[in-house]
Symmetry: C2
Subunit: 699 residues, 2 copies
């Protein structure tokens, strides 16, 4: 991470861990916006100074109250702004002038209300930026840092209980959802010591919150809720910092659907970057993307075990055959490897329980509970199978009072002997028993499918942590974009200059010219009638493929003109196009520019199915050939490139290098390059070549 | 439903609702297999006679014990068999001889252990069938019918509490999973009065259990767990009975098994894996298929509200913009319509709270909780939007002690005024508050995504309940399958006979013959070299398309022979194939035979993408053109047929009729017809025609 970003994230510390807090608009009413933060901090024993500011009172909730900022006995590290909207900008200006390092603006009525509010919010940001003060909000719920009793937040969610000790930090653009996450976590016994909600993000964004947590020693896992991103570079820096610190980021990014996007833009006025581009950037940094709040917490919870195997394999021990089938189904759906047990171990288990299924899932059958020593043997044998992750499905048997106490000892011994194995228990048991197993180091899930989903996500996190740094993007020769529009030939020339193969073709007027063009282009060629009046060439026989000799060229030239004369007698004929005939698998490649993340390269299945099947891989530019190859391999149509149905394998190296060069072009060309469209790209065993190319520049 | 099936399902009543129960292998130990059922029935006050049978004791758990079946004072309705495996068959024989109507065989050691056990199990079935006694198991956990205190089951799961009163019946092949479901339900406060686990299914299958529950007045919703099905007809009858009774079946179907050996060799069969056939049959009857245990219970729970709108629309009222975005995403992913609020209502809401988002999702913002009358207005306005289903997302605010009590009155009034609207509350609240809302008639979900998934499933259930009966399959002219293998021409002739268009073609030896063939076939034609030595015709220019005149045929004939002579001089030439050239969208259609469900028809995307993109629709045979059209419309490639990318629309009627006729052929041809493969089928605005056809018969 660049030092500038490290400093930027560290700059949030006055907001998160201040020694003194002023409250502008402080209230004596413990249920009001200006009252709740004070009440909470008093209740939770915040150790620093709490300095209420309210011109109408001398005392608030037992604290001395000050009439204005200038009367404060000390300069606070941070100020909570809970004044009316019309006074909030002035308050921020005063704070900046006084040299306060952080402002938490709970006041609403800014960009979310229209142009006037947006202008006020811009002013707020400018004031804060000019003074170096970090500003959270406006229109945010606030934040908490529970271990130090710091609660500059007006949520009612603490009425049901305080945050539990733990290692998960919550970063959320939505206040309601940030506290929803906290409440669900608390009610499941999961600790979330820090929660930051960013509201309108005039200054501090969710990326800043993630970046700060990446540096914070109290946080191991970051659970984030986002509707959109404002600055691609800050997000990248934050995610890179988290990855460097081996802190998983689990994110629920909403706004995938059209209706969701519309709702999101009306909600926080977040920039609507293409969800798929955001998805690609998140994937690049190993972010685990969750589909629901529960899944978000499931993954974060499992991640707090801090075991991130580089190449995850799952061993399953089940007391129910049905559970084993269900788990195997779910594992396959989640891309989790479940290699079989070693043959010798299988033989030993079969000797112990003849009707067990010892492969993997290992079904020990309910019979083992007649003799719990047998359970111990099954457990040890399954771990000895060498899996990085163990899932034990004991369902209600694991929680039954007649069994659980004796089972506990076996599970405790197992956990102690194999601290490096990620162990997950799927049992139906009362909370105290669940807590006991968690204290041993197990992650406990009631639902086996949810356990598998979380295991899959943590496996991908481990793979991302372990991945070597990607190869750099290829170096390109110097090139210049023209001042004007790029014609098709000029576009192709530019592409060739940067090493992207583009098919050769020539419009010819005579047989001799066609013959010469074909010799120059190389065999085989395809020949086509060129006429503005013939839309569907093939319907009049106006396309001939597979031409491999000069004689064929001459014959075909005559044939095409003859057909045109007979079947489209009134068509104007511009000539005969001679083009290299490329045969192979059709793909598309392209570049586009995302408003948040900049140039993005894509590759997808070609032909008529491209759009319909939505078989596309995206990545922000630039990237190297290894990344390009991974993108191509991720396509469903990759099987066609890889020898499916008796085909020759395509030259994947050439294809990947083409895509990597395209990405380098996207990065190097600057913002004037709006789009590149290579459609189709033909991939064969010999080559990867763009048959058609369009480049769009900003005029 | 046929009367025979109604009688078959009613025949389970002695198993489910007996007046007297014998226990063979009764035990005094309340924790043993032969002891638990007696202990449970005593604890739960089973009203009928409990008759322990054990030659070694005169009293068991306070009941008189009998030495053998013949000594019983009465003939029991049902007997629980908990004796050792080697004595179980004899016990079943005795029961059958004594005229007992039902046997529940808990004993294990039968088909699950190998050939010998399977033989014993077959004997058991034969004995039962011959006497008309219904037999549950062997190797099953048993069942319970809680309202009558009837617990012929040895699960330990009751140690954590008894089943709650309610309207959901559980049918499960797996004993462990059946009780897993019961425990999860119980711990969520959901009542499951009946649970039937079917084990090895020698006689009673999960389909019987579903069929019985379809008739039982105590059950409104059937939650099923299945690994596979044994008899397609019984399953169909059971699902039809449930649908007729408007009882939703929610099913978790895990695992896969291979299709029949012969069918697997054809291309269609390879695509038509067994699980997809089952999926298609389940879909036919409106079964909601759940992906996890939690989802199964979520859907069943929501279904107990017994509101099944025919055309479901969802209105969302949210206190959090973020929650609205998340719900909109989830609704789109689940195919739920969320039409916008009427414009006038939007204007009224905006007048009330200027910064609200009144479209749908309706974001009332947290501000409404300052004045709860406003919440009431928002609630009423949203319902007045005319939605069949209302989802109210109040998260932790809905459970906060400072708000919840006043909110309750508004929600109670709303519920009372609109009893026909399916109302779902997503709140984080303590169980007693959740129970209060449930008592009002709300379904309550903590997680909004789970609520949306369940709403989507119940919407599909409602649509299935309301769907008109499908059109009958088309009548076919009489046809006969040959005794022998069907040659390609014979196969095409058979297809033409039943009204399926097959492309015309002819292998010709002379120019004149080719010309005549082309005239006969109709223009345009395609011509191809036919040679056993030329695998890739197009590589030597051996395929010419777009031939539209006799002169072209003659010229092309010469050209093809010339190219072959020049480029494949040693190839044997069998002639020149002249075929009608069809252009349009490529599809595949086929028939396969499923071992459980019989003939299955499929349609899918054609060309090289067929397998890779897995774009296929299946249905068991026969069906009418409306069903065929729905199948075609369900394909992702349907856009190509429907005018995407400037194409003409394909003749969907012809295509659907072709598929319907194929299905009628599958149903009429009998089990000798193993597979039909039409690949490709070309669909255009003018026609739907099979270009190649293979029919596989059992020799």
């Amino acid at each position: 991470m660049e030092a500038s970003f490290a400093g930027r994230f560290a700059g949030l510390t006055p907001l998160l861990r201040p020694r003194s807090v002023a409250v502008l608009g402080a209230s004596a009413d413990r249920l009001r916006i200006g009252g709740r933060p004070i009440a909470y901090m008093l209740d939770r024993g915040f150790g620093g100074a709490i300095l209420p500011v309210n011109p109408n009172r001398s005392e608030i909730q037992g604290l001395r109250c000050y009439a204005s900022l200038v009367e404060l006995p000390e300069r606070p590290d941070v100020a909570i702004v809970a004044v009316a909207a019309e006074r909030a900008v002035a308050a921020v200006e005063e704070l900046a002038a006084a040299g306060v390092r952080g402002a938490i603006v709970l006041t609403a009525g800014f960009a979310e209300t229209g142009a006037e509010g947006a202008a006020a919010q811009t002013r707020m940001r400018e004031v804060a930026r000019a003074s170096g003060m970090r500003l959270l909000g406006p229109n945010c719920l606030g934040l908490f840092n529970a271990p130090i009793g710091y609660f500059p937040i007006f949520s009612a969610s603490f009425e049901g209980g305080w945050p539990l000790p733990g290692r998960i930090g919550i970063a959320s653009q939505s206040g309601a959802f940030g506290t929803h996450l906290f409440v669900v976590a608390r009610d499941r016994g999961i600790g979330t010591p820090v929660c930051i909600t960013t509201g309108n993000e005039a200054d501090v964004t969710i990326a800043d919150a993630i970046g700060w947590m990446a540096q914070d020693e109290g946080i191991d896992v970051i659970a984030a809720y986002a509707e959109g991103f404002r600055d691609g570079d800050v997000l990248r820096a934050a995610l890179a910092a988290a990855k460097e610190a081996r802190k998983p980021v689990v994110m629920m990014k909403v706004g995938r659907s059209a209706l969701g996007q519309a709702a999101a833009s009306s909600h926080t006025a977040a920039i609507a970057a293409d969800d798929r581009v955001a998805e690609a950037v998140l994937a690049e940094y190993g972010v685990a993307r969750a589909a629901s709040t529960e899944e978000l917490l499931d993954i974060a919870y499992l991640a707090t075990r801090r075991l991130y195997p580089a190449a995850s394999t799952l061993g399953v021990l089940t007391v129910s055959g049905g559970g084993g089938v269900l788990i195997a189904d779910a594992a396959e759906a989640n891309g989790i490897a479940m290699p079989p047990m070693p043959a010798a171990a299988q033989a030993r288990l079969r000797a112990l329980i003849p009707f067990c299924a010892p492969a993997n899932p290992v079904d020990c059958t309910a019979q083992v509970f007649n003799d719990l020593a047998t359970v111990g043997t099954f457990l040890e044998e399954t771990v000895a199978g060498g899996y990085t992750t163990l899932l034990i499905f004991f369902s209600q048997v694991g929680g039954a009072p007649s069994i659980a106490p004796r089972l506990h000892d076996h599970l405790a011994a197992l956990r102690a002997r194999h601290p490096d194995v990620l162990m997950v228990l799927s049992i139906l048991a009362p909370s105290p028993l669940v807590a006991q197993y968690e204290a041993l180091g197990y992650a406990v899930f009631a639902d086996p499918t949810r356990a598998v989903v979380a295991i899959g996500a943590v496996g991908r996190i481990g793979a991302a942590f372990a991945a070597p740094p990607p190869a750099p993007a290829p170096a390109l020769p110097a090139f210049a974009l023209p001042a004007e529009h790029l014609s098709e030939p000029a576009a192709k020339q530019l592409l060739r200059r940067v090493g992207i193969a583009v098919s050769a073709e020539e419009v010819c007027q005579t047989e001799a010219q066609a013959e010469a063009a074909a010799r120059q282009i190389g065999w085989p060629v395809v020949m086509k009638i060129v006429s503005p009046d013939i839309a569907h060439k093939s319907e009049i026989g106006g396309v001939v493929t597979g031409i491999t000799s000069p004689g064929d060229v001459v014959r075909t030239h005559a044939l095409l003109l003859e057909r045109a004369a007979a079947r489209a007698p009134h068509a104007r004929i511009d000539g005969i196009l001679v083009a290299r005939h490329h045969s192979g698998v059709e793909l598309i490649m392209g570049l586009a520019r995302d408003p948040v993340f900049g140039p993005v390269a894509m590759v997808g299945a070609g032909g008529i199915f491209a759009e319909i099947m939505d078989d596309v891989a995206l990545r922000s530019c630039p990237f190297g050939a290894d990344t390009a190859q991974a993108m191509i391999r991720s396509l469903r149509c990759f099987a066609l490139l890889n020898g499916a149905r008796g085909r020759e394998r395509a030259d994947l190296g050439a294809l990947a290098m083409m895509l990597a060069r395209l990405s380098a072009l996207g990065a190097a060309a600057g913002p004037r390059l709006l789009a590149v469209d290579l459609n189709p790209v033909i991939a064969s065993a010999d080559e990867a070549v763009a048959v058609d190319a369009v480049i769009v520049l900003r005029e």
